[in-house]
Subunit: 221 residues, 2 copies
């Protein structure tokens, strides 16, 4: 494989979906850590690449690309038959994109509201209620995913594991960490176990850990 | 044109982007009002179509489709050469999708936080600060768009008006209504005037107004 990519990521963040995409492709890529926990996304060198101050950022010979959804679509379209997104026609692809957009524009902002509550309001006294409201909305939304699995499907969209499962898995794990009561969702719990057991998810975790280990030793940036 | 669509919309909402898409295509379509102001998105008949309780929802012979971004991509891919999204290759399309994803996953949730503040926290005393924080973040993000126009481009992405401009225009107008101080953004103000003057935007407003007039007279849906 001659194509090579750099992916700017932060460990544990939603950049996991883009790492999973590159792993699924078997791509030749380098992981470049931008630690959100240390506000590294605000450093001038990174801001010059991505003024949004976010991850993921994908770089290759064509240029720079931000937003999980755009990266997923780009890699899907430039590697036909990769299985990154399910389906073979425009409608099936649009359904997959619709699920990714729901993760990105509905679930993810609710996770932000639940986790980064001090950025929503500075007063500590407001935080419990702000967090509770976000978690309630998140629960309502995840109930939609639970219902979707009621037809017995194994994966959220299409007949095999895809980036749609990867993004929902990331959101689902964050939702649990935020305090969402997931016990009422037996189908999502069963799906989570399947999705986590997929080899691509395991390889993604290994690559992320390896990059962080090299970073700690002052290896790669 | 034989293809026909139904688009469920709420006047003034982000469904304007999808109406603009159908207008740009010259498509044969019906507008079905779902008034968010009256909580009509929560009615069982609509929930049966779209459990998310949101607009837009596009329906055609292939099925149902939610999320502005998925609708934009689907209409773009099924009508080659329409100009809905700029560019002709996968990378250019991905750049356009990246801008749409930014509107949907960053600007739009901030607009929600600024406008629907009572759904974030029930206590009136918290609302001014919650709104201010959201408007500050929105201003920071819109500064990215202002910088993008510093290279003299007429449109946000590509050489002509596209759905990327339509979605940003909707966000920009909402940001102003939320109290964003737009005076510091001369390039965005000049772009807004161009984008609003595009015939497709005008036709979209007419169709929306016409559908609401028929709705008020008990005509459709």
């Amino acid at each position: 494989m001659t194509t090579s990519y750099q992916l700017y990521f932060s460990p544990g963040s939603c950049s996991r979906v883009s790492i999973a995409a590159l792993e699924l492709l078997g791509a030749d890529y380098e992981l470049c850590p931008v630690l959100l926990a240390n506000d590294e996304q605000l450093q001038p060198a990174y801001q010059a690449l991505n003024a949004k101050g976010k991850v993921p950022l994908l770089v290759n010979h064509e240029g720079l690309l931000t937003e999980t959804l755009a990266i997923a679509l780009y890699l899907h379209q430039t590697t036909p038959g990769s299985g990154l997104l399910p389906g073979s026609d425009a409608y099936d692809t649009a359904i997959a994109i619709s699920w990714l957009a729901w993760c990105g524009s509905t679930l993810h902002p609710l996770i932000y509201r639940a986790r980064m509550v001090s950025r929503i309001h500075p007063d500590l006294a407001t935080h419990d209620v702000l967090r509770l409201r976000a978690v309630e909305d998140l629960s309502t939304q995840l109930g939609i995913a639970e219902s979707t699995f009621s037809d017995g499907r194994e994966w959220l969209c299409g007949g095999s594991w895809s980036l749609v499962d990867a993004y929902l898995l990331w959101c689902f794990q964050r939702a649990r960490q935020c305090g969402c009561d997931i016990e009422g969702w037996p189908r999502l719990i069963a799906w989570e176990a399947r999705a986590e057991a997929h080899p691509v998810w395991g390889r993604m975790l290994q690559r992320e850990a390896q990059a962080m280990s090299e970073h700690a030793q002052g290896g790669s940036v």
